[in-house]
């Protein structure tokens, strides 16, 4: 009985009970509500909310295992496959990215894996970048109308291809970067903090260097994150790892904290503009929180390579849909027939299956 009253079982159980009771209550209530003309029925709304929650939960699980923020998956999918206004999608994407980071903050901070000083240092530049990005997104939406919607989809399609490529070839990030010299500015900051590395059964002392350059790189990551509302964990981790020499595991932990902290700044322009619609964003938020905690505590043993291949396939297909939708909105091409979409999807599925089976050419196998 005692273990059910301890964190995280207590909060997970409480949230699960509330979700189950809540959705059953909504289902029962919706049976007796009349649907007005031109409105969506209460039953359909209930199904949509449950669907959003489940999708968000799955996204959070995949994101935790793949070591990225949920926004990277959420925003491109919603922009590519729905007609929902891009400002609303990006605002909700920022909520998804932020809460996927916030929920991991507690455990990482408690264990000492994340480094608060490093996070504060980088959050100052990430926050400025994210705010600039969010402001730019709103200016673009206000001034460019439909062309802006098309350009955003095209640009995001290009970025998603780059992310997918990064996951295929794995980048040059290193688990334990070797630091030969620490510059004076970084030395004065006194960032390093030893932590207990459970997988090695020892205390790890690490160094950090080039803090100023790291802040510059994170500023750029913040702009991307704020503009597209998709988080920037995929870029923040390599930036910390390669530029500042932060160990990979520490960089991954700090990236979650950093995104959560930085997006607390970036999200407000969206919220104040009315782009965060409570009933639409709520199930996504709940899915991220519950999926994030569950993923971190229960699914840690799942083979990451398997999920990574699915993620790569998902990213390539999403980028295809984003680019074709952008070109369609710019009237460069006609609407893509379902058969073509299906064909591309099938090809990608086959490639993913081949990769999982280890029958794919070198790059994907080597980095799994």
């Amino acid at each position: 009985m005692g273990k059910f009253l301890k964190s995280p079982v207590l909060e997970i159980s409480l949230m699960l009970i509330l979700i189950i009771v809540g959705y059953i209550a909504m289902g029962l209530i919706s049976g007796g509500i009349d649907t007005p003309d031109d409105g969506m029925s209460a039953k359909a709304i209930t199904m949509v909310l449950i669907g959003f929650f489940l999708l968000s939960f799955v996204i959070a699980l995949i994101a935790v295992i793949a070591g990225i923020g949920g926004g990277v998956i959420f925003t491109p999918i919603m922009l590519a496959f729905t007609d929902i206004n891009s400002l609303i999608v990006r605002a909700t994407g920022l909520i998804v990215a932020m809460f996927s980071g916030l929920v991991s903050t507690g455990p990482f901070m408690r264990r000492g894996l994340a480094n608060l000083k490093l996070c504060i240092l980088l959050a100052t530049s990430y926050g400025i970048g994210a705010f600039l990005g969010a402001t730019g997104a709103i200016i673009m939406a206000d001034s460019m109308g439909e062309s802006g919607e098309a350009i955003i989809r095209l640009a995001l399609g290009g970025i998603v291809i780059c992310i997918a490529g990064y996951f295929v070839w794995g980048g040059t990030k290193m688990e334990w970067p070797e630091i030969k010299k620490v510059d004076n500015f970084t030395k004065k900051l006194g960032i390093p903090m030893p932590y207990y590395e459970a997988s090695m059964g020892k205390v790890v002392n690490y160094e950090v260097t080039r803090a100023a350059a790291g802040m510059g790189a994170i500023l750029f990551v913040g702009i991307l994150s704020g503009f597209f509302g998709m988080g920037g964990g995929w870029a923040a981790v390599p930036a910390m790892n390669m530029v500042m020499g932060v160990p990979l595991k520490v960089a991954a932990a700090c990236s979650g904290v950093l995104l959560g902290m930085g997006d607390c700044i970036a999200v407000w322009p969206y919220l104040l503009k009315g782009a965060i619609i409570p009933l639409f964003a709520a199930p996504w938020l709940v899915g991220q929180v519950l999926g994030g905690i569950t993923g971190a505590h229960l699914l840690i043993k799942i083979k990451a390579g398997f999920v990574r291949f699915i993620l790569i396939g998902l990213l390539f297909f999403t980028s295809f849909a984003l680019i074709t939708k952008g070109l369609f909105k710019l009237e460069v091409i006609g609407e893509v027939p379902i058969a073509v979409n299906g064909g591309v999807f099938l090809v990608i599925i086959v490639l993913v299956v081949l990769a999982i089976m280890g029958k794919f050419p070198n790059p994907m196998r080597r980095s799994s």
Binding site: I33, M40, G106, G127, E146, C264, K273
Partner: protein
């Protein structure tokens, strides 16, 4: 047994504050939508229409500044740019167009078309040809002669050689507002080159540039109760389902503020790390500035 290094108090407190506020706001976001279902009409945004509007791609925000003051009765609005409205007609289109079988000139009210059975009196239609389009209301239909009579004379000429056609559309509603007045109007035509929007009927009130006169497409928030436009609407609507949910979202979005303040105080008084205390307070300050809209776009 290896002794684990102690995690600084500031870091532990930061983590706990963030974690528990996140859990609390998730619980509010579970309870809020259930409360919203108890009485749908009590919400700031009625969920029936809200979800439909979201899936229809309706905007959350649409604003274009006016380029000249508008006086009551005026039908032509001069805007700084018509970018937002360029595809407004396309988005409202119900089905594909039906061709005109006779060219018409500006001022004409009778349109001869290929097929008449899909049209009804009082319907809104879009008449378009290459590079020119306008909206009209059907006043009468003659089934045998295959003609439509529109309520007001055409603004432009439409030649059958330029693939002129007629399409039924939903009413292209726009919102005109400034700091003092607000009303909706129905678009009759958009002139991209001149940067003007012509309305079916003249505006009831006057709008000035100095009072931040704006024109925009109808947004999700147009049907909101009490005329709120998003943001911190929960303050006056805390007991409604979506107000409670919005409070949960705002609390979560502000958790970085509370956590950095708490960590900053520990840096300052307990750990005597003044530089890091300033860093923490700086982040809290940025969140606060962003949250209260001190840096806002008009």
């Amino acid at each position: 047994m290896i002794e684990r290094p102690a995690v600084p108090l500031s870091q532990r407190v930061f983590g706990e504050v963030v974690y528990w506020i996140t859990i609390l706001c998730a619980i509010l976001c579970i309870v809020g939508p259930v409360v919203a279902f108890v009485d749908m009409d009590e919400n700031v945004l009625n969920p029936h229409f809200l979800m439909q509007d979201i899936f229809d791609g309706m905007a959350a925000e649409s604003v274009i500044e006016i380029d000249a003051d508008i006086t009551a009765g005026e039908t032509v609005l001069h805007l700084k740019d018509t970018g937002d409205f360029e595809t407004v007609m396309d988005n409202l289109r119900d089905e594909s167009g039906i061709a005109l079988i006779q060219s018409v000139s500006a001022g004409d009210t009778v349109l001869s078309i290929e097929r008449i059975k899909d049209f009804e009196v009082a319907q809104t239609i879009l008449i378009e040809a290459k590079d020119v389009e306008e909206v009209a209301i059907i006043a009468a239909i003659d089934q045998s002669a295959k003609t439509i009579t529109i309520a007001a004379g055409l603004m432009n000429s439409y030649a059958i050689e330029a693939q002129a056609e007629v399409t039924t559309i939903d009413e292209p509603v726009i919102v005109i507002k400034d700091d003092h007045n607000q009303e909706t109007g129905i678009v009759r035509a958009i002139d991209k080159e001149a940067g003007t929007v012509t309305l079916m009927i003249g505006v009831d009130q006057s709008y000035s540039k100095d009072a931040h006169g704006e024109v925009g497409e109808e947004t999700i928030w147009q049907d909101a109760k009490d005329g709120v436009a998003g943001g911190h609407f929960w303050k006056d609507n805390f007991t409604t389902g979506d107000g409670l949910t919005q409070f949960g979202l705002c609390l979560g979005c502000a958790c970085g503020f509370f956590a950095t303040i708490a960590a900053g105080l520990i840096f300052l008084f307990k750990e005597k790390s003044y530089g890091w205390a300033i860093g923490s307070f700086w982040i809290a300050f940025m969140i606060a500035v962003s949250a209260i809209g001190l840096i806002a776009l008009h």
